[in-house]
Symmetry: C2
Subunit: 329 residues, 2 copies
């Protein structure tokens, strides 16, 4: 299979195992004037691919790709996805899948039509859910070790560093809830199995070191009719002296145990005590699962319907913070 990379602002590294999946990256095109493809091309050459630079992304179609790996400036990703889907090309796209509900609905329609007509697939870049700690917690939840999940809390904390200009405006940045908290939402939904019936959020862009409207703190509460609570907090105040860029955490409270990850370690507490659990990798990477779905061999766990659901939840969470009102799903 042949893949092209559209834009270079996001997480194209989730496709670094393309060769292993039988996929050749044949071209890279910037999709925004702020983007330069050099580093991306260099990296894929190192990985054994022979990508060429294509200045106009619409010309990528000439390369007869099976897959478009889309990760441009956030606000462009959804339109780019629709464009490639309409041309019968499967899409692996940066999250959030869309920057607004209207856009998301257009994407869903485009995907449905493309699926029917060409059999295309779609997946969102929810790669953090494929980290070892996440896979380990997912299994402890799904095998019933902690009983019925009643509450879960996710944390995202990042260093602010120097952000590209496009973070500074809602025109180009979907907001911290849609860009960062969305990972926590993915974990609540896909790892903990939460359903979302309402959400309430707050956010603030104060003290954001001159990054325009970019929010640097946010907190959301998701609630389901059966009383399961999910809380997600995000901040960009992780100090420069911290060992790692991010401080991802997930704590899942079940009727028979509590499992938690801090610093990529997993700790389980149940009736038998408190102990660290050895983590394990998922069978396949997110990109491998996506390729496998295109080949009709399997199902990507972060496929179209799933990624659209999580994006919708993130956009409604953002709407709650923007309007300062609880939003019902």
């Amino acid at each position: 299979m042949r893949a092209v990379i559209v834009g270079t602002s996001g997480h194209y590294e989730y496709a670094f195992d393309a060769s292993k999946c039988g996929v050749k990256v044949v071209a890279v095109a910037p999709a925004d004037e702020s983007e330069n493809a050099d580093a991306c091309i260099k990296k894929f050459k190192e990985l054994g691919h022979e990508p060429v630079l294509v200045e106009d992304y619409t010309k990528l179609l000439d390369k007869k790709p099976d897959i478009a790996i889309i990760n441009s400036v956030f606000s462009k990703n959804c339109e780019l996805s629709i464009y490639f889907l309409e041309h019968g090309i499967s899409v692996f796209c940066e999250k959030p899948c869309a920057s607004g509900i209207d856009e998301l609905e257009r994407l869903e329609k485009a995907y449905k039509e493309s699926k029917e007509r060409y059999g295309t697939c779609y997946a969102g870049m929810f790669g953090l859910s494929y980290e070892d700690w996440a896979e380990t917690i997912r299994n402890l939840v799904s095998d019933g070790t902690i009983g019925e999940v009643r509450m879960a809390e996710a944390q995202k904390s990042y260093k602010l560093g120097n952000r590209e200009l496009f973070y500074s405006s809602r025109e180009t940045y979907p907001g911290t809830i849609a860009w960062t908290s969305i990972h926590g939402i993915d974990w609540l939904y896909g790892i903990c199995g939460l359903k979302f019936d309402s959400v309430y959020s707050v956010q603030s862009s104060r003290e954001n070191c001159g990054n325009g409207t970019m929010e640097v703190t946010a907190s959301s509460i998701f609630y389901s009719r059966d009383g399961v609570i999910g809380t997600v907090t995000s901040d960009y105040f992780r100090p420069s002296g911290a060992k790692t860029h991010g401080d991802d955490r997930l704590r899942v409270v079940g009727t028979k145990g509590i499992v938690e990850s801090i610093g990529k370690k997993v700790v389980l507490i149940d009736k038998d005590g408190e102990r660290e659990i050895e983590t394990h990798s998922p069978e396949m990477s997110i990109f491998a699962e996506f390729v496998s779905e295109i080949q009709g061999k399997g199902k990507c766990r972060r496929g179209a319907e799933y990624s659209f659901e999580v994006t919708r939840a993130a956009l409604l969470a953002r709407e709650s913070a923007d309007t300062k009102k609880e939003v019902r799903f």
Copy 2:
């Protein structure tokens, strides 16, 4: 000074250092038919006091107390406080100070009148704020080490165990937000310096092992006009095999650093790195501060106005969960 203990359902242990404070515990009275004073009397005898049993708490007045240590069944504490304040006796009472806003307003009025007429004092049993980790974080916040606080997250997690019957009904139990989350609210307000302009909460009593209406999960978001976010979660799912009864946590996100306590340890991250901070005790215990305020020598940091404010915040947070609406302060 002479103290009496009214009810034995709460945290009278905060007065275990009474002797050191120059206070003699002279009598103990149950205030609810479910209460038995034997263990309490035995304990204070071991501590060198000579408390007698008084069956009718109104007869405690005959013992000429300066202080009433009130910790009966939750729903009775406010009325008991008002009763002793009206008789010119200073009150050290279990939190929440009241079970509802109306009751709280009557307490505030009674306190004000008693203060004017007799010079009495009042303090709420927010003893967890006097633990070493809490004092250490308070100082790191107030001395500016972490800069301006922009977000804080508090966690309460308890073993459910076997709960007395009065936890099973809102008539006798003020709800988990008012009983448990209130500690997190105290930390946000008194340690992190948050102001509260609105609150949104959810809660659930599902899977509470037959404890009536007692909520076993809750989550609240407090927000201030200047965009500072406070999140508090509580649960009663801490597994029986956990090393300790409770898992109290506080994480404070500032513009110059993040300080956090888990398992009573304190860790600071700032531009210079990540390190554990040696904890230190407050100068005085909560009871010692209270006695010092009665003596006109100092000010209890969990005195009347403070304790009423935190109780109000907890009751509004509970109202939000009960009505499923954001509540403005």
